[in-house]
Amino acid sequence: MLGRTLREVSTALKQGHITPTELCQKCLSLIKKTKFLNAYITVSEEVALKQAEESEKRYKKGHSLGDLDGIPVAVKDNFSTSSIETTCASNMLKGYVPPYNATVVQKLLDKGAVLMGKTNLDEFAMGSGSTDGVFGPVKNPWSYSKQYREKRKQKAHGENEDSNWLITGGSSGGSAAAVAAFTCFAALGSDTGGSTRNPAAHCGVVGFKPSYGLVSRHGLIPLVNSMDVPGILTRCVDDAAIVLGMLAGHDPKDSTTIQDPVKPFTLPTSADVNKLCIGIPKEYLAPELSSEVRSFWSKAANLFESEGAKVIEVSLPHTSYSIVCYHVLCTSEVASNMARFDGLEYGHRCDINVSTEAMYAATRREGFNDVVRGRILSGNFFLLKENYENYFIKAQKVRRLIANDFVNVFNSGVDVLLTPTTLSEAVPYLEFIKEDNRTRSAQDDIFTQAVNMAGLPAVSVPVALSNQGLPIGLQFIGRAFCDQQLLKIAKWFEKQVQFPVIQLQELMDDCSSDFEIEKLSSVSLKQ
């Protein structure tokens, strides 16, 4: 049952094959079994069981709240959750219990979703590995999959298996791992430079970044306000569309959300791609791109072409400036957004009280990790009066050029862009930490970041397993606010590629009964 998609399990709930409480308990027990993945910072067991119980009552009365009623979900720990600790994986917010729900959390709860817990991330979402949070790194469930283990055995040279676990990517690694390991059916991430799509690609799940302004940011603890969007992680594109339908729309508490009414995002069961024009941005053929990813990318393009779509090479000429531009804009906003963490109103406060200034300094030194402090420092440098013109204003101009690149391509008749999501499959933790956070973030975000600059919708869809038995994802980028069309194409693609289901039976022996059903479900998915 746990291996099913959200839509399938929703049908099962409606038909009474399983009750919300049973489903919730199954997920809770799996969360406990997979605790070592470190996907969750807080498991809200009591709240979840209570919500499941209420959902059950609704089903009994025939008053279900719709597709999400009774569905276990998880939320990245940078979304405010009323009466549930929200830490951003930082010492600064350890013990901070918000008095309100983020709009997206409230919308999920209003639709009857059951909140399993808060997922792990890089501190304040600053990172691309989910390795730099105060609660430790998240482990990629695929490290323990049958598919990966078998490949490793072939190559094994007496390495210590346990120390070779893989990173999830980030910063929404906890959410991606939670969905990939079947502990929930959908999870919220956040996406500022690729933080939802990157771990989705590494964990073999769908990672969707909606258009900027389509989904409310109210209650999302910001990284870069002008680029942040709540992201959706699910096991299939259809599920992402269902969740998006629940979340999208104007929020009076977020002035940057669109005013126009939003229609439900229903995707057709069969789509026709022969009238489509697929753009392949030539600048995305980076030298660091692994040959495997490159080959899947090209196969995917061929697939569209073989189905009658027009596939053309396009140019996004300012792509190479994206990373450095992002660095200036991101750190500047970080410097500003982090100014509120002074230990006065909430969060960590140091013991030093000789002066207000000394208290601020010590609080912030103790509260933030090196990555956060580094970004605050550089951001403040860029915002100094003497530097503002040369850095911030220039970066804003470059951002405009990058956004215009996309506008030009879409105006030339391209419907959707097809790109890699990441350079390669997930790497082992020990490999990953050889480089520092900044280098890693710069490398890992290259295919995803420009999208945030332009506010476009994008989705990472798992395509296939690499030679090592690890998932590889490809990204589709759509026109602004054409999220539905984007998902429609992604769904068609997903159906063609038949990405294999992760096999975790070895890991969770006593869950085998659940996973037998899961096998069935993967069959049903193919029908």
Partner: protein, 529 residues
């Protein structure tokens, strides 16, 4: 034509400055006005030492002072600029604080329509150009009563620019000599107020009250077109009246709804402007004038003694009557301005640019607001002068006292007495009594109706002027009695019976032949009233 005399004493010396009307202040930005030229004969004795000092320094006789103002007016609105918390003065500490006001992570600003309308109204009333597109910025600094670590303001593109404010100052010795001046308004910007820090020194604690944090402010920036404390105070007073007439701010300085920072520098006319200092948080018109005049004299004194003026922030000590450097404002602040990413550009429309089918709740039409602007004080004074033949200075006094105009108008409505008579009674006797007892108009024991009735009695010669004064005093003492009751109780009616009056006169004169001559004059006076 020397304008006003200001006195200041410091360091054992006495300085006197005269604020001289430039006469031909043509063009904008003419910053002449304050000089220390002396005119013998009209100066008081106290001016003597100054002349001595100045004569000893050839070629440095003239100093011109340049004064610009930044005025923060709290917007009169039900809720704060970016949050739904209520706005109230003197509410229990931290009782009006939303999650946004406390800067809880993840909260976002939502612009209050009323505050935008107040800014547009104020801009229009001050002859500004309203920017159809304006932007919000973050201004960063760490302070305990600024929870977010930044203030949202409008640094780059404010809501209104390029306006002007006409105000009047008395010139010459008589109060009737009023001169009208104009100060340019650089811009009006919308911004957030901060909270309040209360320093508990004995316990070395700082207590924070966030009730005020996030209240909407209009920052009105006046160009340095003023040259002395009196001018600045008069400009601020006029602005205050305009804001109150518009209802955009209660503009009560004592309650901190109107706060003034003054930028002051001195230079020799014809030479570049001097280094300026900023005097912060002036919370009464009187202190504003005092602080500016002190600062001008201090700067002149410093320069004349070969010292330099530092570009610094100073505060005014109202007890000592002098300005001092602010310790916590030492060093240059870099506010690291940045665009506020959570607020899209603020777009305003006029009737021509209004998008068709726009939701009236979502758009602000400048023309619509312009058509509904209330009467401004300048116009009110003009009408008073025309309608009642009032002297200009009387129209100023009527408007300057809170509630006095309304009182006057209520009296006028109910009395047959001549407007000039009413003006004279309201401004001389009524206001005199108020001042003497330090009362506000709304605390007056005499109602407009009572004064109107009294003036009616006077008008139809039922009582004499001196009796009317007596009745007024009675009215002031004993509430609840009408003037007619007092007149009849005290038997103050004038005798109208010619024969009876003659009989009285004869009796008196016969009884007191020695004072007959004087008595006749008094009797004549009686009957003539």
């Amino acid at each position: 034509m020397a304008a006003l005399m200001l006195r200041w004493s410091c360091l054992g010396k006495r300085w006197v400055l005269a604020c001289i009307d430039g006469g031909s202040r043509h063009g904008r930005g003419a910053a002449i006005g304050l000089t220390s030229r002396r005119k013998r004969g009209q100066s008081s004795v106290a001016q003597q030492p100054l002349i001595a000092v100045q004569k000893s320094r050839k070629g440095e006789h003239e100093w011109a002072a340049v004064v610009g103002l930044e005025i923060h007016a709290q917007i009169s609105s039900n809720s704060k600029l970016f949050s739904g918390s209520q706005v109230h003065f003197a509410a229990p500490p931290n009782s009006l604080v939303s999650f946004f006001d406390a800067s809880l992570p993840g909260t976002l600003p939502v612009l209050n329509r009323r505050c935008v309308e107040a800014a547009v109204m104020t801009g229009l009333a001050l002859n500004c150009r309203i920017n159809k597109k304006s932007l919000f910025d973050r201004k960063h600094y760490f302070y305990a009563d600024l929870p977010a670590g930044y203030q949202i303001t409008q640094q780059r593109l404010p809501i209104a620019v390029n306006g002007s404010l006409a105000y009047s100052v008395s010139v010459g010795k008589k109060p009737s000599q009023v001169s009208t001046r104009t100060v340019r308004i650089k811009q009006i910007q919308l911004e957030q107020d901060s909270g309040k820090s209360l320093h508990d020194e004995p316990r070395s604690q700082t207590l924070i009250d966030l009730n005020r944090a996030g209240v909407g402010l209009l920052e009105v920036v006046l160009e340095p077109d003023m040259s002395c404390g009196e001018e600045a105070a008069s400009a601020v007073r006029e602005l205050q009246l305009i804001l109150q007439a518009l209802g955009t701010s209660q503009a009560n300085m004592a309650e901190g709804q109107l706060r003034v920072d003054a930028n002051i520098s001195v230079h020799h006319p014809g030479e570049p402007l001097g280094v300026r200092t900023e005097v912060k948080n002036l919370n009464s018109a009187r202190f504003l004038a005092k602080a500016i005049d002190f600062e001008i004299k201090r700067q002149i004194h410093e320069l004349e003694n070969g010292r330099k003026i530092l570009n610094e922030t100073r505060s005014f000590d109202d007890k000592l009557g002098c300005t001092m450097p602010m310790r916590d404002k030492e060093g240059k602040q870099d506010y690291r301005f940045m665009p506020e990413p959570n607020l899209p550009p603020l777009l305003l429309y006029d009737t021509a640019s209004l998008p068709p089918g726009a939701d009236p709740q979502q758009v602000i039409n400048i023309d619509w607001i312009r058509e509904r602007l209330p009467e401004l004080p300048g116009k009110t004074r003009e009408k008073l002068i025309q309608q009642y033949g009032m002297l200009p200075e009387h129209s100023f006094t009527l408007l300057n006292e809170v509630g006095l105009l309304e009182f006057f108008q209520n009296v006028i409505k109910e009395t047959r007495a001549e407007p000039k008579k009413v003006t004279s009674w309201v401004l001389n006797i009524f206001l005199g009594f108020l001042k003497q007892q330090n009362l506000a108009v709304n605390e007056s024991p005499v109602t407009p109706s009572a004064l109107a009735e009294l003036l009616n009695l006077l008008d139809r010669k039922a009582i004499s002027s001196s009796a009317a004064r007596q009745v007024f005093e009675e009215l002031w003492q004993s509430k609840g009695k009408t003037p007619s009751q007092i007149v009849s109780e005290k038997k103050l009616e004038l005798m109208q019976d010619q024969e009876a009056l003659e009989r009285v006169c004869h009796t008196v004169m016969e009884g007191h032949p020695q004072v007959g001559v004087e008595g006749r004059r008094k009797a004549m006076h009686f009957s003539a009233c």
